[in-house]
Amino acid sequence: MVPYAFVAPALFVFCAFALIPIALGLCAAAFRIDPVLRVCEYVGARNFATIASDPPFHIALRNNLLWILLSIGVQIPLALLLAAALIDQSRFCRALRTVFFSPLVIPGVAIGIMFSIVLDGQFGALNAALSWVEGHQVTVGWTADRRWALFCLIAVACWQYTGYHMMVLLAGMQGIPTELYEAAEIDGAGWWQRLGGITLPLLRRVMLADVLLVAIGSVKVFDIVQVMTQGGPNNATEVLATYMYSQAFMSERMGSGAAVAVVMLIITLGFAVIHSRLARLEAGAP
C-alpha cells in the first residue's frame, strides 16, 4: 500500500496532464474541431490525407531531415573537438567552456530575436561587418532568402546547442582513465591519434545518446524558426512544429494540427526505439 501512495501523486499528475492529453491528441487527429463553429465531428483519417497531400508538409519533413543531418554533422564533431581541447580543469578551459555553454540558458525566443536583427538583410550587423571586410555593400538576405534561410536557422541552432553537447561529451570523457592516454603518448601517438584511437571508441555509448538527443531536438525545433521566419519565406523554412502551429491556429484546422503532432510523436518514438536497439547491441559488444 505504502509504495503506491508515494508514487500515486506523481503518477496522477503525469496521467492527467501528459498521458491523457497525449491520448486525446492522438484521437483529435481523427476529428474536425472548431471551437467558434462549435464543431467536433469524427472524420477518420481525413486529416492525415489532407496533410499528406499538402506541399508544405512535405517541405517540413524534408527540412526536419536536413536539420537532423546537419545538426549531427556539425554539432557532434565540433562538440567533440571542443571537449577534447578544453578537457582539463585550468581556469582557461573552465572559462571557455562556460562561454560556449552559456547560450543554453537564454530562451530560444530571445536567441531568435537577437539573430533576426543581426542577420537582417538591409541593416544587420553581420552584413555591416561583411561590407567592411569586403569593401563594398553586402546585402545578403540571410533568413529572408529562400536559398539560405534554412541553413542560417540551423547555424543558429548549432550556436545555441554545441556547448551543451560539448559538456555532455566532456562528462563522458571523465570516465576514461588517464593512464590510457599516458600510455599512448609514450608510444608516440599524437593528439589526433589519441582522439581517434582512445576517446572515440570509449565514448561510443555517450555519443550515441547524444546523437539521439540531437535528432529528437531537431524534430521538435520550434522557437527559433517561429520567431525568425515563421516557416517562411514561402514555406522555405517550414518545420513540423511550425506547420502544426500554423495549421491549428492560423488556418484553424485543429484536427490537422493534431495529425502533424501524431507524426512527430511517431518519428520521435521511432528514434528512441532505434537508439535502444543500438544501445543493446553496444552493451552486448566487447
Binding site: P233, N234, E252
Partner: protein, 447 residues
C-alpha cells in the same frame, strides 16, 4: 536553508501567483481594464478593442469617459488587445464562454464564422429602430450582411489607393495613370532611369494580393469574384480572368517594377522608401494616410509632396471600373451577452454622429457614419477619400478577408512565391482552387 523554508517560500509564491492570476484571469482576452466610476449594481458592459496605439487609445478613452458620465447605470469596461494577438484571444474567449459583450470584428469570412456558430447577435431588428442603420455609409454595410442578417456595425473603413510623389511626376511630365497600361508606361519611364517605380513590402504576405484582388474585380467582375471566394457557393475560380490578373501582376515583378527584395521588406521600410523619395509610387491603404503626412517617419512637409490616384482601370473588363477596393472594420455583439440592452446603448453611442465626428477629428481616419468627415473634422486628403467613397458605385473587398483561413494561408504563401519567381501564376491559381475545394467540401458537412 532547510528544506522546510523552501517549501514555505514556494507556498507563499503560489499564493502570490493565484493572486496575480486573478488580475489576468480570462474575464478578459486582454486586461488593461479601465477603472469603473459606475454606481454600484450597475450593468457591466465589456468592450473588446484593438485600439492600443495612439492617437486611437486616448481618443477612445475620452469617448468612454463621456459615456460613463452620461450613463452611470452602466459600468463600461474597455479591454485592449494587440491586433496581432486579437484573433486567437477572441476565439479562445468565445470558446470558453466569456467573450466581451461588444467586441471588435473584421468582417467577411471571419465574422461569418462567428455568425454560423451563433456566437454573435443579428442586429437587423435593432438597426431598423430609430434609424440607427441609416446613419452608416451604405458602401460599408454589405460585408456585415450574411444569410439575411446583419451581424455587426462598421466603424473605420480602409480603402486602397496609389500614392505618388507629385514632384517626381511633374518633373518628368507624367500625369497619374488612369488605366493599367498607362501605369505600365509610367513605370517604364522610371525604370529606365534606374529607379524602382513601385515600392512594395510583402513580408506580411497580404500586400501583394491587393494588386491581384483589384485586377480580379476589374477583369472578372465584382459579383462573380465574391461568389468564387465564398466556400458555400459553387463558384470555383474558373474564369480565365483569374489567371490573367495573376499574370499581369507577375509582369510587374518580371519587369522589375517592384522595389527590391519585397518579400523581405518591412512596412516601415516600405514607407521609408516612399518618404525618402527613393520610389515614386506605392499602393497602400488609407491607414497610412496620416503617417505619411505628418509623423516621425516622414520629413517635414512631406505631406505636400504626394497625392493619390484611384486604382487603375482595365478597359474591357467585366467589372465596374469605378469600384474602389477596401474593407471596413467594426463591432459585433456577443450572442450570449447578459447585458444586451446596455451593450446596445454603448454601441449606439459610439456610432452616433457627434461621437463619430469626434473620432474623426482625433484619429484622422474615416469613420463609417454619415457626416462624420467634414471640413471641421478632417484634413483634405481624408475629405477627398470620403468624397470618393460616397461617390463610388461600390467597394470590392480584398480577397484575404473573404477567404476561409486555410484557403487564405495557402493562397498568400503561393503568391509570395510568385513574387520571387518560384511559383507560376497558373500554379498560384491551382493552389487556390485546391485549397478552396477542400474547404468547400468541409463546409458541406456543416449546418
Amino acid at each position: 536553508m532547510p528544506i522546510t523554508r523552501y517549501l514555505w517560500l514556494a507556498c507563499a509564491l503560489a499564493g502570490c501567483l493565484v493572486a496575480a492570476t486573478d488580475c489576468g484571469r480570462p474575464r478578459a482576452p486582454s486586461a488593461v481594464v479601465t477603472p469603473s466610476t459606475a454606481a454600484p449594481g450597475a450593468t457591466v458592459v465589456r468592450f473588446g478593442s484593438v485600439w492600443v496605439n495612439e492617437p486611437r487609445k486616448s481618443t477612445l478613452e475620452k469617448v468612454a469617459a463621456e459615456f460613463r458620465a452620461r450613463h452611470p447605470e452602466i459600468d463600461l469596461r474597455v479591454e485592449y488587445t494587440q491586433p496581432d494577438d486579437y484573433k486567437p484571444a477572441i476565439r479562445t474567449a468565445v470558446a470558453a464562454g466569456n467573450a466581451p459583450d461588444v467586441f471588435f470584428v473584421w468582417p467577411g469570412e471571419w465574422l461569418r464564422k462567428f455568425a454560423r456558430g451563433h456566437q454573435v447577435l443579428d442586429l437587423t431588428g435593432e438597426l431598423a429602430k430609430d434609424g440607427w442603420g441609416d446613419q452608416f455609409i451604405p458602401n460599408a454595410m454589405p460585408l456585415f450582411e450574411y444569410r439575411g442578417g446583419t451581424w455587426g456595425v462598421p466603424m473605420l473603413m480602409q480603402c486602397a489607393y496609389f500614392l505618388y510623389n507629385n514632384e517626381m511626376f511633374v518633373k518628368r511630365g507624367l500625369a497619374p495613370p488612369k488605366t493599367w497600361d498607362e501605369l505600365l508606361r509610367v513605370c517604364e519611364v522610371f525604370k529606365r532611369e534606374g529607379m524602382a517605380p513601385i515600392g512594395l513590402s510583402n513580408v506580411n504576405k497580404w500586400p501583394l494580393h491587393h494588386y491581384v484582388s483589384i485586377l480580379w474585380q476589374r477583369i472578372v467582375g465584382e459579383d462573380r469574384v465574391l461568389d468564387d471566394y465564398d466556400t458555400e457557393t459553387e463558384g470555383s475560380f474558373s474564369d480565365p480572368g483569374y489567371v490573367e490578373g495573376l499574370r499581369m501582376v507577375r509582369l510587374l515583378a518580371d519587369k522589375g517594377y517592384f522595389s527590391e527584395n519585397a518579400n523581405g521588406t518591412s512596412r516601415e521600410m516600405f514607407r521609408q522608401l516612399f518618404a525618402t523619395e527613393r520610389v515614386p509610387m506605392i499602393m497602400t491603404g488609407t491607414w497610412d494616410l496620416g503617417v505619411l503626412q505628418n509623423s516621425d517617419e516622414v520629413p517635414e512637409g512631406f505631406g505636400d509632396k504626394w497625392d493619390m490616384f484611384a486604382l487603375p482601370e482595365v478597359p474591357g473588363g467585366k467589372g465596374n471600373q469605378a469600384y474602389m477596393m477596401g474593407a471596413p472594420d467594426g463591432y459585433a455583439v456577443w450572442a450570449d451577452t447578459k447585458s444586451k440592452d446596455a451593450a446596445l446603448t454603448w454601441l449606439r453611442f459610439l456610432t452616433s454622429t457627434e461621437v463619430a465626428q469626434r473620432l474623426v477629428s482625433g484619429l484622422q481616419e474615416l469613420v463609417c457614419v454619415k457626416g462624420a468627415v467634414n471640413e471641421q473634422t478632417a484634413g483634405d486628403k481624408l475629405r477627398r477619400y470620403a468624397a470618393d467613397l460616397e461617390a463610388a458605385p461600390g467597394v470590392t473587398p480584398w480577397a484575404d478577408i473573404m477567404l476561409e483561413s486555410s484557403v487564405r494561408e495557402a493562397y498568400l504563401d503561393a503568391l509570395s512565391g510568385m513574387l520571387d519567381g518560384t511559383v507560376s501564376p497558373e500554379d498560384v491559381l491551382a493552389t487556390l482552387r485546391d485549397a478552396h475545394a477542400k474547404a468547400r467540401a468541409e463546409t458541406r458537412t456543416e449546418s
